[in-house]
């Protein structure tokens, strides 16, 4: 009889050599480590190389890609920043991290001269995302805002309000046509983005100055729209697990008539399903109240300089180069990232790559902003948990629940 032995695996811990960024020698360019979300088109890599070359041997920007998920990016960065790791020089901060990173003193404030340049050059929405306590803490590199995407073969005139859109969808459902409204209903940051867009569009806010919770009738109106959609035939059966990617896929599969999503869906549809792409059109984010312009939660990234960087001055110079309009145009044309500099919106090559440029510009001027607080991670978790699943929102108590949970989340001693 043969006996089989179970082999045990010995995992040898590999020791990684730590590369000291640079010595104090005056010879050779300084290496600046840039940590950023993965950019597949290669436009970040090209810009990093060009800026390094243009510095005349002063610095060399080394690109380091983080995970695709914003939560994971934050966890990776925070772990190193909190440990005083000097190997990060430039970091791409999601727009909702500004207050937190500034309060924890993980990033340097932007110097006055560069701040003045940003304020004169960029659109108001992106500037505001990088501002905390009247000071800029990051240099906006790209922005993002959701539009309404719809099928023009099913919907000849795009709806302008949420109420009208849901009615249109129900009407399509009655006729047995594709009718879903694809929107981010999963319990994650996208749910907060949706809720905040609705609250801001209703003319309200979630947090006021000094972290006061100002949840009120506008939040109720927002929650009621979410509930109405979730319990209507307009809701995709997968609404509770839908994030940006799933919404994009469902629209491309032809199941939906409407989609609320970022502009990446435009190119994605051309690649995935040209038949759907041919019928795809765009319109402004729907209004909550007919008389109020929509205010859509701004996305995008700002570049901050780590407080532990050994070369903050060079890093700011590098950031200035990386975010100059010529580079932003490349990021937009090649990579689809919405620019933050106002002038780019009139560049013909950009307009061609971004047919919806005027809508984007308008929504970055009349914008919505997620709560700016150092405890944003806690607040957004509280919002997500209070509103998920959207079909179970209770109209009578949702305002109280939200207010209590958000207040709780702002104290250090509450489990959420």
């Amino acid at each position: 009889m043969r006996r089989r032995r179970l082999a045990g695996f010995v995992i040898a811990a590999a020791t990684t050599a730590l590369i000291a960024g640079c010595g104090s020698s005056s010879k050779g360019p300084v290496t600046l480590n840039w940590y950023v979300f993965p950019e597949p088109s290669g436009s970040f890599a090209a810009a990093a190389a060009n800026c390094s070359k243009a510095s005349g041997g002063q610095y060399n920007i080394k690109l380091n890609f983080l995970s695709t998920s914003s939560d994971q990016q934050r966890v990776s960065l925070v772990r190193r920043l909190a440990a005083n790791d000097s190997s990060i020089d430039i970091l791409a901060m999601d727009v909702d991290w500004t207050a937190e990173f500034a309060t924890a003193k993980w990033v340097h404030p932007v110097p006055a001269a560069l701040s003045a340049q940003i304020r004169s050059q960029d659109l108001p929405g992106p500037i505001q995302t990088a501002t905390y306590n009247g000071q800029l803490w990051g240099v906006p590199i790209n922005s993002n805002t959701q539009l309404l995407w719809y099928r023009k073969d099913l919907v000849p005139n795009p709806p302008t309000t949420w109420g009208q859109m849901i009615t249109d969808a129900i009407e399509l459902a009655r006729k047995g046509k594709p009718h879903y409204i694809e929107v981010q209903g999963a319990q994650y940051e996208g749910l907060t983005v949706w809720f905040n867009s609705l609250v801001n569009s209703a003319g309200g806010q979630i947090l006021g100055p000094n972290n006061t919770v100002v949840i009120g009738p506008t939040s109720r109106a927002a929650a009621l729209i979410m509930r109405l959609l979730a319990n209507s035939p307009a809701a995709d059966p997968s609404l509770n697990v839908t994030m940006e990617g799933q919404a994009d896929t469902a629209f491309d599969m032809g199941n939906a008539a409407f989609e609320l999503n970022y502009p990446f869906v435009w190119n994605s549809a051309q690649k995935t399903n040209p038949a759907v792409a041919k019928q795809m059109a765009y319109a402004p984010f729907p209004r909550v109240a007919p008389e109020l312009a929509p205010r859509v939660s701004i996305g995008g990234y700002n570049l901050g300089i780590s407080s532990h960087s050994k070369h903050p001055d060079l890093a700011f110079a590098a950031v200035q180069c990386l975010t100059q309009p010529a580079n932003q145009t490349t990021y937009a044309v090649k990579g689809g990232l919405a620019p933050v500099a106002a002038s780019i919106y009139s560049v013909p090559s950009f307009q061609k790559a971004y047919p919806f440029h005027s809508l984007i510009k308008q929504q970055l001027e009349t914008y919505g902003l997620r709560p700016q607080t150092a405890a944003y991670a806690d607040v957004t978790l509280a919002i997500q948990k209070a509103l998920s699943p959207t079909s179970n929102i209770i109209p009578g108590s949702v305002v109280t629940t939200l207010r209590n949970e958000i207040k709780l989340s702002l104290s250090s001693g509450a489990l959420l």
């Binding site: 999963a186 994650y188 509770n240």
Partner: protein, 311 residues
């Protein structure tokens, strides 16, 4: 993630020690100490130190974002944990997943172990194939099951003719998570039970057969009692693991639809909210739960007792 309690089988009772040691015995002891020493130091460094550090952190208000506000606050964090409804909800979710998934794993694992034990031909192949799910990386397994269950891309909703999305509902999500856990961990259970089956002497079973016992009677009256130590160890290992469930839920939906486990809560508090004090308190409480489970199994049911040792 969390530090699991390891149930060390108590060493065989030492004979009464001789007072006087020979020169040779003393030398051997010194050698033994030298041999064990490095391992002990490593254990202290990688296990004891983090646990003690977590205990200290759990007694503080400590937040990565607000280092200036750190201070000692005694047992307040534990008070926050035990008074939070979300904590007890998560305990309930964890218990539901643990009890159901380990029960199913036990029944299926026993069947699988019997098949592997009795396989007449291709024994190695049967055992190898049965172990494949256990060899797959947990995250990969969770992703493939998540895709299999999702309405648009998966084969399971099509197979069952579902019109709704199972992962949009609490019940469907629990079923999906438990199926994943069962699929992934049954082979490990089977392996531990197979070792127990080897303890059952064939002569006993043959004698029972001669006496006219049916197959079921032989299994219940002879095989199971003789396997008891192995069964308890298998159940103990799997229960401890299942109670710390994290990867599957994290991949499926990060705890949405009312499936958040204690480990998920712990992760959210520590790594998303960066609240080290409160998060460490959750870790320590989870550690105590796990230790309690181990204690109940070992002291209550006699898991880890020497084979045949009837308490």
């Amino acid at each position: 993630m969390t530090t699991g309690a390891v149930a060390a089988p108590p060493a065989a009772a030492a004979p009464p020690r001789r007072r006087r040691l020979t020169e040779r015995a003393r030398e051997e002891r010194r050698l033994a100490a030298l041999l064990v020493g490095p391992a002990l130091i490593v254990m202290i460094a990688v296990t004891a130190y983090p646990i003690i550090d977590a205990v200290i952190l759990s007694l503080q208000r400590s937040d990565l974002r607000f280092p200036a506000q750190s201070k000692f606050i005694g047992l307040a964090n534990y008070g926050h944990v035990f008074s939070a409804p979300v904590f007890w909800q998560d305990v309930l979710h964890t218990v539901i997943i643990t009890v159901i998934s380990v029960s199913i794993q036990f029944v299926l694992g026993m069947c699988l172990a019997l098949i592997m034990h009795r396989a007449i031909f291709a024994r190695g192949l049967v055992r190898g194939v049965a172990l494949i799910p256990y060899g797959i990386v947990a995250v990969v397994a969770a992703y493939s099951w998540e895709l299999a269950w999702s309405l648009n891309s998966g084969w399971i909703p099509k197979l069952l003719g579902l019109s709704g999305d199972p992962l949009s509902h609490t019940f469907g999500t629990y079923v999906a998570i438990i199926v994943t856990e069962v699929w992934k961990n049954t082979p490990f259970m089977a392996l531990l039970l197979l070792a127990g089956l080897a303890l059952v002497p064939d002569e006993l079973l043959e004698a029972a057969k001669v006496d006219g016992a049916t197959a079921w009677q032989r299994f219940i009256r002879i095989t199971v009692p003789l396997m008891k130590p192995a069964i308890l160890v298998a159940l103990l290992f799997r229960t401890l693991d299942a109670f710390r469930i994290f990867d599957t839920i994290y991949i499926f939906n990060q705890g949405a639809q009312g499936t958040e486990s204690i480990s998920m809560l712990n992760y959210a508090t520590l790594l998303n909210r960066l609240n080290l004090g409160l998060g460490s308190a959750v870790s320590i409480v989870l550690f105590l739960f796990v230790a309690l489970i181990a204690f109940v199994f070992i002291k209550g049911f006699g898991a880890g007792a020497a084979p045949g040792g009837e308490g």
